[in-house]
């Protein structure tokens, strides 16, 4: 049944594209609403009839994975959820995969957020991933959720020298001083690794500028694809590795499923989402070609008539 669905939708997409190609050879432009329809079909069809492709991690993703892999057990890792529901489809799979990886390696994980909207997404990761998959881990010892604080970069400015000034308690009002996980942690400078997940401001860039550089803490980032190129200048000196968009998430997932047996059968939303991606990219590339053909035909006919 899915195969029939796949075939029909592929037929619709490619047939339509061929038709538009023929039209464009006579120099005709395509209405933008037709493009919208194609994008809709290219994304919807693989969702209804799933197709997945294999991914292999690029070095920029593997660097981040290896860093978490090589940290000694019991290291303090801070994961900051600086994104909103709109970015969640891209960034949440990274958050889940990295949280799994850290906890499985026995690191102590501190969750926080600079975005008001990040707090509920953090709760999503805690309730959907950590509680069911790591029942042996104890809140306050192995991980802690210290929640959201308003103030954007201001928050970073403070925690870079003093954590408890900004976050006196965790999200449930328990003082941080009373927690085992915070022993020896006064500020961000005492952390072993920071993973900044986000895509807006404040986000990974601010973490690098306000915390990573001044306190000299290694930072790995996971970002929405749109801001990843902007972070390349910081790699590899100022950031350890970059997960860019859903492809980065998919690569991390495939690395995790291949290199840590425990996760061989885990859910891989990132990998699943690559199906619609591939088709949509194909459609956009086709439209670029169609647009150029139409453009050159028009230019030629324009110069002919002159």
């Amino acid at each position: 049944m899915p195969n029939i669905g796949v075939s029909i939708s592929l037929l619709v997409i490619f047939g339509g594209l061929a038709w538009l190609l023929i039209r464009s050879i006579s120099g005709r432009e395509v209405d933008r609403r037709i493009i919208f329809v194609f994008i809709f079909v290219a994304v919807a069809a693989p969702l209804l009839f799933p197709i997945t492709f294999q991914e292999k991690a690029t070095s920029i993703v593997r660097d981040l994975f290896d860093r978490i892999e090589e940290l000694p057990e019991g290291s303090h890792v801070l994961i900051s959820f600086d994104f909103d529901p709109a970015m969640a489809p891209e960034v949440q799979p990274m958050a889940n995969a990295i949280s799994r990886h850290c906890l499985d390696k026995g690191h102590r994980v501190i969750f926080m957020s600079l975005w008001a909207t990040g707090q509920s997404l953090m709760t999503t990761t805690l309730t959907n991933v950590i509680l069911p998959e790591f029942p042996e881990k104890v809140d306050g010892r192995d991980y802690v959720n210290i929640g959201f604080k308003a103030g954007n970069e201001g928050v970073l400015n403070v925690i870079v020298s003093d954590f408890k000034k900004m976050f006196p308690t965790n999200v449930n009002g328990v003082p941080l001083d009373s927690m085992e996980i915070f022993e020896g942690i006064e500020s961000c400078a005492d952390l072993d690794f920071i993973v900044a997940l986000g895509g807006g401001r404040p986000g990974p860039k601010e973490w690098v500028l306000f915390v990573g550089d001044p306190a000299d803490v290694p930072i790995g980032v996971g970002v929405a694809a749109v801001v990843a190129p902007q972070l390349y200048p910081y790699y590899p000196q100022q950031v350890i590795g970059i997960l860019g968009g859903i492809k980065g998430a998919a690569e991390y997932e495939s690395e995790l499923t291949h290199r840590r047996e425990r996760f061989a059968d885990m859910e891989t939303p990132g990998l699943h989402m690559m199906g619609p991606q591939t088709l949509a990219h194909l459609v956009i590339m086709s439209f670029i070609i169609i647009g150029n053909i139409a453009f050159f035909r028009k230019k030629r006919s324009g110069s002919d008539s002159r």
Binding site: A44, P89, E90, V226, P233, K247, H281
Partner: protein
């Protein structure tokens, strides 16, 4: 509003009720508040579709969603500002009574008095409402402009100027992983392998020259002629490649967002995928 709009609205309302009912029925086994939940999921789906309808053209459903969005979200951020900035940060430094009222711990410090500065400036800002004393509202604005200029001067100097300059110190003849071992070796190992020495060296040359030419493009006070003009042409080409590459790279993220929304429609609302 013409007749067809009324008919369309009636149909949408009907579909809304049908969806609500079906959703409530399908949730009845799982949750207690299935009627509320059915309503909430249906309204989410309705709003999602209302926004998508804008792609075709402007219409009353989009207008409804837009106006609702504006009203609700403006209040959302105001409440956030009230609870997190005023209650969370100002009151604990201003007054013990207010702190106790809102049950936030009072933070005593001899400098607390300085927190009257933003309060006074904030009140001056409200002077804008008066036609006579309106000019007083320029003071807080001047304060803000000064703050922004002062803070960003050093911030950008450090992160955008100093650090980016020193990150551009790239070796042009090889690095630790590809050490330079003489011109003979270079030619005998010449290859176009992505991880080979040649591509690495080429990349560094492009970074070096690209940054220099890019900066030349931004020169304001020198005419872009001759060698300088040539370099600035190279600069704009490098910028164009940058823009093209960033654009292409971004597409993936944008598609993901649509995937997220369609997943909501197909899974949470229609329940046709799992």
């Amino acid at each position: 509003m013409n007749r067809s709009t009324y008919i369309l609205t009636a149909i949408v309302v009907l579909l809304f009720i049908v969806s609500w009912t079906l959703k409530a029925v399908s949730l009845s086994g799982e949750v207690d508040d299935n009627i509320t939940r059915g309503f909430l999921i249906t309204i989410s789906a309705f709003l999602t579709l209302a926004i998508f309808s804008f792609l075709y053209k402007d219409n009353p459903f989009y207008k409804f969603a837009e106006h609702l969005f504006v009203g609700v979200s403006a209040a959302f951020w105001m409440c956030q500002g009230f609870w997190s900035t005023l209650v969370g940060n100002l009151f604990p430094r201003l007054s013990e009574g207010l702190s106790n009222f809102f049950m936030v711990p009072y933070q005593y410090s001899p400098y607390n008095i300085t927190y009257w500065i933003p309060v006074i400036l904030g009140l001056l800002l409200l002077m804008r409402l008066s036609s006579k004393a309106g000019w007083l509202s320029r003071w807080p604005l001047a304060f803000i402009v000064g703050t922004t200029a002062g803070l960003n001067f050093i911030r950008y100097l450090r992160s955008d100027f100093v650090v980016q300059v020193s990150s551009t110190f790239v070796p042009l003849l090889g690095n630790e992983s590809h050490p330079w071992t003489g011109i003979g070796d270079f030619f005998s190992h010449l290859s176009l392998s992505a991880s080979g020495q040649f591509m690495m060296i080429l990349a560094n040359w492009i970074i070096f020259l690209g940054v220099i030419c890019g900066l030349i493009y931004f020169f304001f006070s020198k005419e872009h002629k001759g060698v300088f003009g040539f370099a600035s042409r190279i600069g704009i080409w490098v910028l164009m490649i940058t823009f093209g590459a960033s654009f292409g790279y971004t597409v993936m993220g944008r598609i993901s967002l649509l995937v997220g929304r369609l997943t909501f429609l197909f899974r949470d609302w229609l329940e046709i995928i799992s």
